[in-house]
Amino acid sequence: MDLILKVWRQKNNADSGRFEKYKVKANEHMSFLEMMDVLNEDLLAKKEEPIAFEHDCREGICGSCNMVIDGRPHGPNNGTTTCQLHMRFFKDGDTITVEPWRVKAFPVIKDLVVDRSAFDRIIQSGGYISVNTGQAQDANAIPIEKDLAGQAFDAATCIGCGACAAACPNASAMLFTSAKINHLGLLPQGEVEHSKRVQAMVTQMDEEGFGMCSNTGACEVDCPKEISISNIALMNRSYFGSVFGSDKGSK
């Protein structure tokens, strides 16, 4: 298939950036990133600079890849990361637009690569259970209801890619933050620090410059792990509960 790509090129953060057009030949079995590899090999053959993009595991779990494809983070398919998107979902002759995440708190480093260290700092502010190595009791000493463990897992499945913030018109990181808060807060192990954690993580999220949630639901739609927006409601309840002293975990 013959495609035209409109790709965002930006030398560095100081550069203002622009779209460049490229022609590329692909076939339907390729993944989107393999198509980008082909384009980069073409550019290198012409001694031109390849397009910088972030990628690593290429199986949808590391959270590195981050392209806005035709206006949607990770492209047209729900529940799919960029690396798992395959070219059979495009047609011969298509023009495809490729951009980086557009989020104030994720400054562009080069081309499609952005700095997502804000997410690390949110986790560092309290996204953990304070237990040192060696302090643990026997794992079966705390039974946890199967469904509850499943709910915690559903939140814990977040890969930290940032698509939620990129999809949100307010560039809000509330889906990411709430997923971690609820993963930990739903479990008895995480309940002890829950109130403190909610306060600390929400404060850090605000300091990083992410916007507020206005319930558009775009984050849930574009989350490659299909994390539910109800996590945000649960986080809000915990946040107000922690402010007014009535909160006892995410349950």
Binding site: N12, N27, H29, M30, L33, E34, D37, V38, L44, K47, E48, P50, A52, E54, H55, D56, C57, E59, G60, I61, C62, G63, S64, G79, T80, Q84, H86, I109, R116, F119, D120, I123, S125, G126, G127, Y128, I129, S130, V131, N132, T133, G134, Q135, A136, Q137, A139, N140, P143, I144, E145, K146, A149, F153, A156, I159, G160, H183, L187, Q189, G190
Partner: protein, 663 residues
């Protein structure tokens, strides 16, 4: 040089306990004065860095990723072993130890493996306390499943994302230490050299990948937890960034590379579909709990399937060859990985492969769907269910167990595995070889430690499923934090290491020269094209089966490739900027040299064992070990022209060396 594994004396069961109880310690007030560098933030690196931080050391931790959470441990699917015996099925520390030694084809060190089995139990406790959402039963207690090469259920799991959840647990602990100030984190930094002063590892040269700046980082000791080197084959299940550079740079500074030829080819991966392909995707071994592996017996069925006239579903039961169940009735579809991979190669070489390339076998869940469907219907009180009900209920059970894997398969292949049997083929997955380490996980370079997949110590010639996560976390949480004290207790009077020392100057200069040389070649071939060619050579001559003739040829081809690379590679841009092509070029240059080491090692080992299968040494189609001559660890002191082999004899005091049989 005689290699001393430093195995403590005494009975196997008590070695670790006694050693740990009597080793010299570093007092808390002295820990504050000691600096430790940890390179890598996968399971081993993140768990080590956080635990060392908790103990009070000053830790600097490095990753080339944009965040420690992206290390490739994140992609591990199936599970983590532990000798908890929660299932009451006869498991014990000894059994896990024995299974691992046998699974490794009697090529690992008894004392290290026993310690691994002992601490496995603590890992599960630690992870549960961190909030890792392991799978649970209705009673709220932890669930287990089985993996290849064992006859008990000792694998703990979190759906098909166990590595992700365990890594996030370790990452969160690390994040806590970062926020407390005991660990200083350096993201997007790649280690390009080890610095030795008076023979001891005292720091690293790291390149800031955003600015290109070469930085000197000094410490009292250096810990490498930098993963495996499977990407030497270009196509593997490893992440694109996984590389051998940190370990290979240590080798260039005198560390020994042990057993580099032991490569694990995983039997259940999605087959290759085209030349543009950049990586292969694993389908967890846990699938072999419920999937049956087969190929058509008749060539006409094979041809019809390859030409798209038939699907696997059209082949009647009597015309299917369930070759693992036929050849290995005791373990059936759950034979270890090396055995399953070779068996797949055999049936495909005989012309029974089921996709257009002829390189694929079926992994079929239809029997499991039937079995689970009936049992679910029974529990609902329906003792006479119709076929559609059975299928619906059975499919739901399979979906609950393996949903994310089936989804991933469908995304990649475009085929629905609930309807058509999966097609799979072996692919490079893990490397048992790595830096040589003693019982303390210290390499032959004093003060340089290696953990997890980066060392060679626990898996012998073949790793059992769900043991990589176990080893990474055992090393990082429960072994290194103790054993590092054996080195550091003699350093409490050593002042801060000076990054302006001439050794740092020399290392920085030689690194800069190496970078500039590669940039100045300005040839005509891309880094990627060299990497692909290297992968083809490795797969052809040092892959699933090897021969003396092929290995000699392969070695020469690699040497030619190396010369061509340094003459004709094209790397755009400059050193002093964010330059992903330059990063790749440095990694591929190191892979090429490692590839030669692998060929040399495979040629030295005139036997077949585990992941190392030499065509000349077989017995009735099975691998033929030679215990008389090869019960040793090969530790290579690398030199391009005259590599020197150091042997560590393996002494088995507790298990009897037997022909490994899964029949």
């Amino acid at each position: 040089m005689k290699l001393d594994g430093k195995t403590p004396k005494g009975p196997l069961d008590d070695k670790w306990t006694n050693y740990r109880s009597k080793m010299d310690l570093v007092a808390p007030n002295n820990k504050r004065r000691l600096d430790v560098i940890v390179v890598g933030t996968g399971l081993a690196g993140a768990s080590a860095a956080s635990t060392l931080g908790e103990l009070g050391y000053n830790v600097k931790c490095f990753t080339f990723h944009d965040s420690p959470r992206r290390a490739h441990s994140i992609a591990a699917q199936g599970g983590i072993n532990a000798a908890k015996n929660y299932q009451n099925d006869g498991d014990s520390v000894y059994r896990l130890f024995y299974d691992t030694i046998k699974g490794g084809d009697y090529r690992s060190r008894e004392s290290n493996v026993h310690r691994l089995a002992e601490v496995s139990r603590n890992i599960i406790d630690q992870a549960a306390a961190q909030g890792v959402p392991f799978a649970r039963e209705y009673g709220g207690l932890l669930a287990n499943r089985s993996f290849g090469g064992v006859q008990v259920s000792r694998t703990f799991y979190a759906r098909g994302q166990t590595g992700q959840q365990l890594l996030l647990g370790a990452y969160q602990s690390l994040s806590r230490q970062i926020s407390l100030g005991s660990v200083k984190m350096y993201n997007r930094h790649e280690m390009l050299d080890v610095v030795k002063i008076d023979g001891k590892a005292r720091g690293i040269i790291a390149r800031n990948l955003l600015t290109g700046e070469l930085e000197r980082h000094a410490a009292h000791c250096v810990v490498l937890a930098t993963g495996g080197y499977g990407n030497v084959f270009y196509l593997s299940t490893n992440a694109m960034g996984s590389n051998v550079t940190a370990a290979w740079r240590a080798v260039k500074r005198g560390a020994y590379m042990a057993n580099p030829c032991y490569t694990q080819i995983h039997p259940t991966c999605i087959p290759v579909s085209g030349d543009y392909q950049s990586k292969l995707t694993l389908m967890s071994e846990s699938l072999r709990n419920d999937g049956r592996v087969w190929v058509p017996k008749k060539k006409e069925d094979v041809m019809a399937i390859r030409e798209g006239r038939k699907t696997g579903n059209d082949v009647p039961e009597e015309d299917r060859d369930y070759y693992l169940e036929r050849r290995y009735p005791a373990f059936g579809n759950l034979v270890p990985r090396d055995v399953a991979s070779r068996a797949a190669k055999v049936v495909c070489d005989e012309g029974h492969g089921v996709n257009s390339t002829g390189l694929a076998v079926y992994l079929d869940f239809s029997d499991a769907i039937q079995r689970y469907g009936k049992s679910e219907a029974n529990t609902m009180g329906n003792h006479n269910p119709d076929a559609a009900t059975i299928k619906r209920l059975g499919t739901a059970v399979i979906e609950a167990k393996y949903g994310n894997l089936f989804e991933m398969y469908e995304k990649i292949t475009g085929e629905n595995p609930y309807v058509y049997p999966m097609k799979i083929y072996p692919a490079v997955h893990y490397t048992m070889g790595g830096l040589w380490v003693d019982y303390n996980l210290e390499t032959n370079v004093p003060g340089l430690f290696a953990l997890g997949e980066a060392n060679f110590s626990d898996h012998g010639a073949n790793r059992l499923g769900a043991s990589a996560l176990m080893q990474g976390l055992a090393d990082g949480y429960f072994v290194l934090p103790y054993t590092i004290g054996t080195f550091l207790c003699n350093e409490i009077r050593t002042p801060k290491i000076d990054p302006n020392a001439p050794e740092f100057e020399e290392a920085e200069t030689s690194t800069r020269t190496r970078l500039e040389k590669i940039l100045n070649i300005k040839g005509n071939q891309t880094v990627e094209s060299f990497h692909r060619r290297l992968g083809k050579i490795m797969w052809e001559y040092c892959g699933m089966s090897r021969s003396a003739e092929g290995l000699k040829k392969g070695r020469q081809m690699i040497r030619d490739l190396k010369a061509e690379f340094h003459r004709d590679v094209f790397v755009p841009g400059t050193q002093a900027e964010f330059n992903p092509e330059l990063e790749k070029a440095l990694r591929v240059a190191d892979f090429i040299e490692l590839g030669e080491n692998m060929m040399v090692d495979a040629l030295d080992r005139n036997e077949s064992c585990g992941g190392h299968y030499r065509e000349e040494y077989t017995e009735n189609g099975e691998a033929q070990r030679n215990d008389e001559d090869y019960t040793y660890v090969s530790a290579w002191e690398w030199d391009d022209d005259q590599p020197i082999l150091h042997k560590e004899e393996l002494i088995f005091e507790n298990v009897e060396l037997k022909t490994r049989s899964y029949k």
